[in-house]
Amino acid sequence: MSLILNITPEELQKITSFYILLDDNRKIKFCSKALLKLCPDLSNKEELSEAFSFDPLTQNGLKELEGNDFIFIEHKESGLKFRGVSFVLSADKLTMLALSPLVKNIVELTSRGFSISDFAMHDTLIDSLLLMQAHENTVKQSKTYATALRQQLELEFYKRAVDESSMFVRTNTKGVITSVNDTFCRLSGYPKEELLGKTLKVISSGKHDQEFHRKLWETLLAGKVYRGEFCNRTKNGTLFWVDTTIMPFADESGMVESYAAIQIDISEKKFAMEQLERVSKAKAEFLANMSHEIRTPMNGIIGMMSLINSSESLEEVKEYGKTIKSSCDLLLRLVNDILDLSKIEAGKIAIEPNWFDVRLVIETLLDLYRESAEKKGILLSSDVAFNVPLSVEGDALRIQQVLSNLVSNAIKFTEKGEVRIAVHSQETGSDSCQLIFTVMDTGRGMNSEVVGKLFQRFEQGDSSTTKKFGGTGLGLAISKRLSQLMGGDLFVESIEGKGTSFKCEVPMKFENKRTQPESQAPALSGGVLAESTPKNPVFFNQRGEHPRILIAEDNPVNQFVLEKMLSKIGCESHCAANGLEAITAAQSFNYDLILMDCFMPELDGYEAALKIKNNPGPCQNTPIIAVTANALRGEAEKCSSFGMSGYLSKPIVLKTLSQELGKYFQAR
């Protein structure tokens, strides 16, 4: 089938934009309007070669026009390159060279004055260029997004890192919160919606003075970064400290438009520092008090001693001796308090339960304090509820220590009225109960600030109290801790000017049977209170002679005291000044008993005892009693492991020495 298209060159322009028609002789016969816009010189050219040069690869030149291959030509005048393909229009005996300018982008066309209407409607060149343009823009947008995404991921990473550890808050220049992170909400206790739109005053603690705020704003208004520590307040009123960095953010004109703050919670560190400072201060005060407390009785002792030296009257000496005794008791109590507290802190106090009668403990307390109460004209009374079991299992010694401290305090701080010791029981099981000891007074009472510090270690309710009333101020801290060690607690209620009530609650086991307790109320230790003065025993050994005792003690005063005490109870004594001397003495004489100080120069008492026990000699079977200042738990076991039969804790009083020796000798 042959189809003759009767189409004019002008009509052809609507199908393809750039073309040349060549006649039989290859002369230019017609150029399209669009091509002439690009290559105006074509309008007066006859030969194609006059206007175009052929691509080096198109070596055959015009010959190629006869084929259907692409040719590449360059417009000599403009340098514009074209891709072409030729068709032989046999009906018209013409050759059509259809061309496409090789342009990279739309700009190359617009710069030559082209518009979209210059192209044939069906010419895809412009579509290709639009596609390239769109592609280029898409790549550009992708790059922008990729960069933004990377920045966002980085920001997310930093935000997460900040969120984990820090609070973040952003405000406008008036301090109105515009953004907060979850950590800020968590630590401040406010939900986000309660913070946004409010000023930072919402979390202000009011702890910072005007100067603090002045410096803050001075820095920020100068466009500088502010760093500082803020004390803030949570929604529920708790204070918290934050280490804060505030950065001002400026707009394009350089004006500060907002502030961003990153805050790290340093409350623990801050409170720990405050606590440390408080404890340090309290320790310093404590040491100052201790110094005072030690010097006071020491002054009494030294003063009395000098009076004794110059006295010729036995009555006077006895009187001075009483004062020395009370000063020594005071010193001893001080040492015992400190020792007790440090033992509690070191976990070296063991609660030793035994069966005892609560009523006896209360009676003993009344006996001990009745006199001092009467002296002040105070009524000392007790009230043991009927439901308090007859026999309970607990550490009677520690309970008595706690109650003793409470009663002595009550008497001390009560000028008139009453001190009352009450006990009642709350059953907690078939054989267990909670004993509640209450010591109430009608004394001066305390305000809440004093009450708050009452049980704190190294703190006294009121440091002036110590100066006025004496005492170590450790008694209540010890009592509280002892109560807790026994599984209970110690509480206080006080009204200033009206009186105070201490409540010691201790869980106990009780016996349903009405049996007599195994042990009676223990005597108070340390000779602080009314030491009984029974007649001194006089000891004899098995041979009926006065016992001969070796004193191994390096301190001449202690040697002297022991010698005198032993002499009072019918014992003869000989002294060795260290462990080596003690061994030598033990090898040369058959002593009935050895009192061995544990800490001595040359060789300590433990080693000396072991050597005496391990080496044949006259004293190999002689009982050795350790004399030690180390009152810590486990000391008895240690002494025993070195072959010693018993131990006496310093300071030794005649009564305990007699009791110990009574185990080995007969008394008359």
Binding site: N105, I106, V107, L109, T110, G113, F114, S115, I116, S117, M121, I126, D127, L129, L130, L131, Q133, A134, E136, N137, T138, K140, Q141, Y145, A148
Partner: protein, 183 residues
């Protein structure tokens, strides 16, 4: 609509209200993403919701917002790298308007899912012409007013445009009369 349109809206809102304002608009219409990809199609409803929310934030009526958007569109496409596209469409206000339909037709070849409006000119005089706006979308006549105003700015041409026949009145298309004076 293509992301490019939404991005143009975003750009307009940021220009008027700042980045925070744009994020607020996004929150109002519960938009998960606050950015769009130029040649990714999005539901028309997204564009309408953004336009409504933005109008409210800017204290504009919807018609005012659409006109502002139309005007901004020309500036935005130039900023986005499509300035050459406008240039190839014509070197004068009138030439551009005459060729815009051809441009839309070509864009449709590249992005077949785009359904561009048909815009033709008639009664072209030396200082006036009529624009015929055919669209399957309703209510966008104010946007055309903005587009024409933006275009006139682009070609430093002062114009007066008024709607002389509205689709809203039952006609098959909107018709505008434009008076212009070229530089």
């Amino acid at each position: 609509m293509y992301g490019l349109v939404n991005r143009a809206l975003q750009s307009l809102v940021i220009n008027k209200l700042g980045r925070e304002g744009w994020l607020e608009v996004c929150r109002t219409v519960h938009l998960d993403e606050s950015d769009f990809v130029n040649f990714m199609p999005y539901p028309d409803s997204v564009t309408y919701q953004i336009a409504a929310a933005a109008a409210q934030k800017m204290n504009f009526t919807l018609d005012q917002a659409l006109e502002a958007f139309g005007e901004h569109w020309i500036l935005f496409t130039v900023d986005e790298g499509y300035g050459d596209l406008i240039n190839i469409c014509g070197s004068s206000f009138v030439e551009f308007l005459s060729n815009i339909n051809s441009l839309h037709a070509r864009i449709r070849l590249l992005h077949p899912s785009i359904i561009p409006p048909k815009i033709t000119c008639s009664d072209i005089q030396k200082d006036s012409l009529k624009i015929h706006y055919f669209s399957h979308r309703d209510g966008l006549a104010p946007m055309v007013v903005g587009l024409v105003k933006g275009l006139a700015k682009r070609f430093n041409t002062s114009i007066n445009i008024k709607l002389i026949q509205a689709k809203a009145d039952g006609h098959d298309h909107d018709e505008f009369e434009v008076q212009f004076s070229c530089p």
